[in-house]
Symmetry: C2
Subunit: 527 residues, 2 copies
């Protein structure tokens, strides 16, 4: 009996805040300020415009933009048109971006004028090489002067949608592309139900409310901003957009806008803590971090700045955070070092997540002894619907209904999970995933290179950085600088190895490269 | 594609808190204290015991108890056995209670020994009159001495359930009986999905967390404690049970247990504010109220005691609160009288609720002018599944998919709803619903009474009280005291008229009693 049933969708949060908080500030972007009423109206107009141009009924709409009001509006306007949102990592190059757009089947691209060159190149490439005609819409980059962009004209001239679309709550809301271990991008499918529950749970955990102010230091193109794009709106809090996570500018905004919340990888927090503009605020600043555990010294530094850190753990496949290092009041009195040790743990399922399991190779749960290592596996409503147009990868990632995260962890006696290693060959640098195999293949494409192995080196600022071990072909030569320059032309810059070490690679009897030996060498060299 | 899908159920909150907060205090009841680990274990044992005795697979289990740990455990143990929870209003008499139990089809009754006499009478009555064999389980009333009740023996000897049951999230979790306008009790069916979303939304709105302490001044038998039975557990907060809402004892517990949250009708809050034991606490005490708007003087009194009030509105049919008078930071600076006026409004949909409508007789939305009156109608996930075994009443209550609340309201220009009157003939006294027709029928059953009309009189303490207007048969006589005594023997005491006025009843040309005229008379008499 479906009497009174209502599908769960995060768009309902904008409807509520657009009405209840109509005259309160919803979005700040440079000198532009939109009330929640205006924000809601703009999203409805965007939906009307997209619908009118055919971007509806499950059509994919890609967005290439930094954290701007347009990016935020796309998170509502696109699904309000019953279309599917595909946000793009602006750090990728045009070859990578074209590949993702083609895979997603998007025929529409919203872009910020800061990426005009990239957008034009992508459109040209798709047209020339693949015969795809991409409809592009440019939004102004400088909001002080450029209020009459193509995007603004479109909004001004369009009819707003009057009613929100009927949805299947397990239907497709967005696709978030991630680097798989093979380097082939995989499109992680988010459903409305998951985004709704993730957002509601985040509001409960972060205590976001109508007097909160979120500074967007986290890219919205990462897991739709860990679903905070929807959570902040649910709370009726103010979004403060930031085009680049510049720490000096961040501190200026923290002060001028009264920021209460922000998110970011430890790298971002470290930049904030070490900036010359850093200063303790009257109000506690709440920070959500993930991607790597925050170090004890960083935690101490942040604490002295009045910043309270919550450590969380997640993947693109889990709508962002799925584990949270749930703090217990009795830990407040422990020595700082002990607090840091506890906070370095990834923790437990958040309110809307199913408790994860940590399993050994036979699929049995490891004992909660803080020693036995197993792989973290997850399921539940805040796990994706699957990989877009890649059923094989979906099945492989979840052979038994539990998604394999590729992260190896222990379970402590109190049930908190702590990651020890990764089973997948991924390097996480500044919150970005790098598939080592992808970097290796490009290095190996250099005429002088025989073979290459890329591993993660620990780095105070970035968490990890890629380092390449390369064997040259007999008689050939290339310098470290030249090889790095070669790589920079062929991949997003964050993926490029920071160092190249030449020499033989350690291998086992069957010829497999022993990466753990390379990691040991690196660690020894660093000590 | 149902990959990773997990049905929503509030039982998952106890699983989480039972694991994450295993060693933190979950429940305090007199001198007994249970950690979340123990609370979880006891509920799993209760489920095992119920299952073993056949109370499973949709069987109904009734509970007659004040706010005790057993009552709270039943909110988890019963659904963990896949049975359906039927909590009973302890203020009803045995005829009323027997009728409800029979209607629910419950074959099991958990009761607190304070209600032993009632329980025995109910069991006898059901057996004698209806041939129903009720299995009863007694829990000890005095927790200081009586730790070896039938209930405790059962828990001690039973096998705990190992895994939580698979559920259909729209399946039947509990039935909450309410007085309909006809006086016939109606069983409001709660589904798992609604209780889960209601609880999660309440956590977000109330900011309940693991350091919160909830004092149970609200009866858990009212809408399962407005779903706070599940919300408090979700937050990992501590439940403090109270068998009677005694204000002196409440203040003692507020101090000794560090209470941060409580709920209750304005009547309860007024008793608290006026108690000799009242004193301002260091910590802000957050209160959720509903059933009637809190008066300006009460709000002022509470504020001086460090009590922050959130006004909400709901019905049994809406899992408790569905509207919330969402406070805006800019109202903090208004004069107290103005704040009270704003806070007297019922407000807007909470986070998990669908925005309500206020419609005129033709079904059109009334304008948001603060003047035009219409009926509040609701739908969405926090509205019941329907009335148990009463499809006709369900259809009648929601002819078009929108549930008719019977409350007449205006919509203010800012979208906030404020109730002006009730279209249904219900009196709300101290948070309890009284169907005037039921009281009228019992008064009319007295041999001396020709006809009776019962209306609500405003009352500072109770919000409303029932007052009877009675016409005697020619030549017959009964005194006010005797008629009230007659009524007290035949209905729950809270339903009994506080005054009886004898005389002719005003009628229209077709002989219909004009209740609004009686109300006017009452108001004039009170001025």
């Amino acid at each position: 009996m479906d009497l009174f049933f209502e599908p769960l969708t995060p768009i309902s949060f904008l409807q509520r805040s657009g009405e209840v908080f109509a005259d309160r500030i919803g979005v700040i972007d440079g000198e532009r300020r939109f009330s929640y009423g205006e924000f809601y109206e703009r999203c409805r107009r965007l939906a009307g415009a997209l619908s009118a141009m055919g971007a509806r009924d499950g059509e994919r709409v890609a967005v290439l933009a930094p954290n701007t009001h347009m990016m935020l509006e796309a998170h509502y306007g696109v699904p309000m048109a019953s279309a599917v949102l595909v946000t793009l990592n602006t750090r990728l190059n045009t070859v990578e971006l074209s590949g993702i757009i083609e895979h997603s089947g998007a025929n529409y691209l919203l872009y910020d004028s800061a990426f005009k060159e990239k957008a034009v190149e992508i459109a040209d490439r798709l047209k020339t090489a693949r015969g795809i005609r991409l409809t592009t819409i440019e939004a102004g980059s400088d909001n002080r002067t450029n209020r009459t962009s193509q995007y603004e004209d479109l909004l001004a001239s369009s009819q707003r949608v009057e009613t929100l679309p009927e949805v299947d709550e397990r239907g497709l809301l967005s696709i978030n592309y991630t680097s798989g271990t093979t380097g082939e991008p995989k499109g992680v499918m988010y459903h409305y139900r998951g985004a709704y529950l993730q957002a509601l749970s985040l509001v409960a955990h972060t205590k976001l409310d109508e007097s909160s102010v979120m500074l967007w230091t986290l890219p919205m193109f990462h897991c739709n901003g860990w679903c905070f794009t929807w959570a902040v709106t649910a709370a009726g809090a103010t979004h403060v957009c930031m085009r680049r996570p510049d720490p000096w500018e961040a501190w200026r905004l923290i002060r001028s806008e009264g920021v209460t919340h922000l998110c970011g990888a430890p790298t971002v927090l470290s930049s904030l803590a070490n900036d010359s503009n850093a200063a303790k605020q009257d109000r506690m600043l709440k920070v959500f971090t993930g991607g790597a555990p925050p170090s004890p010294s960083l935690l101490e530094q942040l604490s002295s700045l009045g910043i309270e850190v919550t450590h969380s753990y997640g993947l693109t496949e889990t709508f962002g955070p799925i584990l949270i290092c749930q703090w217990r009041p009795e830990w407040d009195d422990l020595p700082v070092a002990e607090q840091a040790r506890l906070k370095a743990r990834q923790g437990v399922a958040h309110l809307a997540a199913v408790p994860p399991r940590v399993i050994d190779r036979e699929g049995n749960d490891v004992p909660a002894d803080g020693k036995s290592i197993g792989e973290i596996v997850v399921r539940g409503n805040v796990v994706m619907r699957g990989y877009y147009r890649n059923h094989e990868a979906t099945v492989k990632a979840a052979p038994d209904g539990w998604f394999r995260t590729g992260d190896l962890a222990v379970v402590h006696p109190d049930g908190y999970i702590e990651i020890r290693d990764r089973s997948k060959d991924i390097i996480i640098s500044g919150g970005e995933n790098i598939a080592s195999i992808e970097v290796e293949q490009i290095l190996a494409s250099h005429p002088a290179v025989l073979e290459a192995a890329v591993v993660a080196a620990p780095d105070v600022h970035w968490g990890e950085i890629p380092v390449a071990y390369v064997t040259l072909r007999p008689g050939e030569h290339v310098s470290e600088e030249d090889l790095i320059a070669y790589a920079r032309q062929r991949m997003a810059h964050f993926k490029v190895p920071k160092r190249v070490v030449f020499g033989d690679l350690p291998k086992n009897s069957t010829g497999k490269i022993l990466k753990h030996e390379l990691r040991q060498r690196l660690w020894q060299a660093l000590q």
